[in-house]
Symmetry: D2
Subunit: 340 residues, 4 copies
């Protein structure tokens, strides 16, 4: 049976998912879309022969929709997620799950009440072949027990891109690292403190933005995580990660591109955007989500994962304001989310 | 409209294509299969809800089949291709197009008589992202005019694999290099001579096989192509290529895998089989072929490309027997195949 | 004129220097040695046809000695350096210059009184070809203004090596990074705070040692420096460094060794010890020092450089004990040490 | 005792050696120089406090000269070598040993008559750390029995450099590969045929030069050697080599230089000249030669090695003229040269 999907939010991310469903993912179709920007939403709807539904809650409730993808404005996630859960529909929510930890808790409460895992968060890096291979190497014990993680998250933000704020460094970018690090070193490990420090800022990021930023996390098991986020690195979209264990280290490979030797140097291009770097991960993410919905057995990143990343982002914001190391106090993990 | 595909040959390659159509390629379904091994064919048919048709010619003629994939025993390709063309059906034929250049010529004659491009040959490397990027770099003029190509084709054949013969080094393995080299340096360039030399043989390839082998080609434009084929390289499936131009050189990147530092070294795994190395290329190949069939505009590797590779393979066989440099005399390229 | 050198301390480091002077550095000879271990010292003396002098102060004063190399026990450095300066002799002192910042200050006072630069500290990385090239790239403006430095210092300490203490991570190992970072980002920049954090410790470093350790430094210019020291990394001696600027980043290259493809992987060996990694740097260091002594124009790392690294090491020790970010308050740089 | 060296030929190569002896090689001094260009020779002589001797044969005979370095015009090598041998003096002769194989034979005859190894040929790659490491890996059996060698020799010849002729590709450049390949796969193996083919020529090498060129060698043991020589590669001085065995392959590492990420790519510089690439090899070569002279036990590349490379160069020239595979028929290796 073809899965009928309703998409809320037809901006960049929503369109990306819709295009993937149409072109490279069998077994699903987009049947309804909704967005506050009606014009764009109608255009997208017609491009994929879907229905335009003005009210997202109506879309969620529609008989024409088996499962929901949420790619709308961050603060709206919570309401849509809870509505979908109440409707008993599977829901895929883009990160962040909610813009506050409390929102995440309310979503978890709704899901527990439904007594069934219905929600998956869009941490697509868990579907990237490089991260999956890195995790396999770690889980196979090749590097022993993880002790330290070094990671860099660099973007090629267009000069003077007005939309990026200093808080977004943690909430929108490093949120991926907060999640994928646990995926690498063991989902059961969680964070106990966060520290954000600001180096000298780039001359090219605009006066209001602090860029780059460095974040240091500590986990219950004592793993220390060093993260760099750099929107205006100016050379490309570059994601790096090394996990240091007590038997050795394992790293993401360098990006793999044509090696050119000319004009005195040996070089390869670095891709400019996440669309190129993580294209396959987004496809695999949706494909596996759709398969798991059809098997009624969701196994991707959960609301608990979304909650943890949200808490870390909040701690980072506080650390930036106070200059202090901020403790992270999570609620106890509900039994519902054990071993998932 | 969903494209209904009939598959002739349900061995490894046929099953690979069928699985891809089912799992990752929207817009097509396998509706009929045929194979001399009825048991396997029936199993495959039931796995994809397709019809089993004993007689491949009946499959080609079936109203239930819009297009045909041929993945059967090499000597049968010619007959099935010509039958499909006569039936006016699009046909995707695994390499080699035919086991003789004459067979390729007869296929081209049938296609010209049909006055429509119906056939594509399964040179999947043209769909590999690394080769595509390499070609783009060359076409952009970064390395100037191509002068020399160095390429290695290494396999991890299981010890004592009885099936590999010395002729297969050119006909089954290097045939990919014969085609992809033209794709890289310009399809309009063709080969004028071939030389095959046999180094000291590996201790692990069995007495009947000469392995590795080296092949040297010369093109009309004077490009020299140095190829190594090595079935029993014993470390992995490894495909390398460097194109040397008069402004610089461009190479395929090293395979991209988790970098592990432990036990005194820095290392990454090399994949063992072509299934891993070219998985995405096979998917893209079929996806683009299906799209082009639906648009009735075949643009993939043509019968002319199949013919050239077949001629080179034949020249290699002669060179191995005579120890000489063997001239390659192609028929004139039919106008039908110009600019395609 | 051949430079006559007296060496105080004939342990590993002293012998290393003596061997280099004999075998690969023209223009100098070792004429006298001294060590508390008389037996070893006499052996070394006879191997290089030098005089054994029991009292190091006598060695410093000897007419047979033009310049002094100090490679003795850390706490003895200060006394020997000051004695050499008083004697008006050029002195090369292994790092650390002194085991306390106050000792470094006293040495600087002696040198200023001598009104002549007589002392060089053994920060040999400034003579390593990779660091020199990295610095040149930065100074040429290729990566813009430095903002962040990431560096790893990994050793292959023999299991259960009893001598390493948690303080030595900063004082004996990272002291190199404290110095070389300024060399890379600009000697005029100095540190204003240090923080040391302890991740989960390796199972292989012994109970008394905290290993690995992470150190975070901040400079007056706002550059943030992230350092990892890991004695028991267990895979080799591995020194890595990336400087992040606002136009790009620059890194030390990977170590360069024979690339072997076999048994399913592509790998290269990592050297086990600093002797291999920095062999050439030690030779160049002594060669350039000897040349500068002969030209009476010392330009290598100064007592001021030694003082800064000593202050940072002290701050790290405090940070480890208190868990706090420790401010670093340097004395004002004496005019004597400006522009040298 | 300091070794007193006389240098015949004070062009680029001679000056390079003289500078190394002065600055980085203890235990030797240049006491006499000779050159047909008296002005340059006198300048060089005064720079190193050596005597200028107009007649090279007088230099060879001089009591002031213990050993001779020959870096003069290729056709003069034979005469000077034989004179030095007759004088019973150790002689280091730059490659090629002679410009004809017959010249090499006459030199060997003179040396055998002297009943003592007196001569070493300047194949400095045997002293390069990368080649030495590569050889060690092969000799340790890591890649099994060598079957194929792929090597590239690329130069950054200045545009329109009038001096390079098509013959020099083999005689002056690939001569290094002829020798180093035997060093890698086993000195006891020798060549039985050579073939030279000319690809399309670069637009930048001038009309009289064929560039690049490809050379294929076969050894008695059946190893096939594929060489590329390319004077006008236009991107740097780049020497590459991969040895393919029946257990795996081993390669020279990529050059090791600062990795820069900026302007959309990751890159490192490639050195422009052999002076940078092989600087250390030249130093080690002379240092080890001088040590072996002092121990009266020459172990470097012998006249037999020089003869083999000369024969291969001659076969390449013939192959270029005839377009044929040219057999190489060596004289039997004199017992004098066994096991040296």
């Amino acid at each position: 049976m073809t899965l009928r999907i309703g998409v809320i939010g037809t901006g960049g991310m929503g369109q990306h998912h819709i295009k993937n469903i149409q072109s490279v993912i069998p077994g699903a179709e987009v049947t309804a879309v909704s967005d506050t920007n009606e014009e764009v939403a109608r255009q997208v709807a017609s491009s994929c022969a879907a229905q335009y539904i003005a009210d997202p809650y109506e879309l969620i409730a529609s008989d024409n929709v088996d499962a929901v993808i949420i790619a709308s404005w961050d603060p709206t996630h919570e309401g849509f997620c809870i509505a979908a859960i109440h409707a008993g529909k599977y829901v895929f929510c883009e990160k962040p799950l909610s813009d506050t930890p409390e929102g995440c808790i309310r979503i978890m409460e709704a899901e527990q009440k439904a007594e069934k895992r219905l929600l998956q968060v869009g941490f697509m890096r868990r579907y990237d072949k490089d991260y999956r291979e890195l995790r396999k190497v770690i889980q196979a014990g090749r590097i022993g027990i993880p002790l330290v993680v070094h990671a860099q998250h660099r973007n090629l933000a267009p000069a003077g891109s007005a939309k990026i704020t200093s808080d977004m460094s943690a909430t929108n970018a490093l949120v991926h690292e907060f999640d994928i690090t646990r995926y690498l070193i063991g989902d059961e490990d969680t964070y106990i403190s966060a520290q954000l420090v600001a180096p000298r800022s780039s001359r090219f990021c605009g006066e209001d933005l602090i860029d780059p930023q460095l974040v240091y996390l500590e986990t219950r098991n004592g793993v220390r995580v060093e993260l760099e986020i750099y929107w205006y690195c100016r050379y490309g979209y570059d994601i790096r990660c090394e996990v240091v264990g007590d038997l050795g280290t394992a790293s993401l490979p360098s990006p793999s591109h044509t090696v050119v030797r000319c004009e005195g140097q040996q070089a390869f291009q670095i891709v400019p955007t996440w669309q190129e770097r993580f294209h396959d991960a987004y496809v695999t993410e949706l494909r596996e989500w759709i398969a798991s919905v059809q098997e009624e057995n969701i196994i991707g990143p959960s609301a608990w994962d979304g909650y943890i990343s949200s808490k870390v982002a909040e701690a980072c914001r506080q650390s930036r304001l106070t200059g202090k190391i901020v403790p992270i106090e999570l609620i106890e993990c509900p039994e519902f989310y054990h071993n998932i």
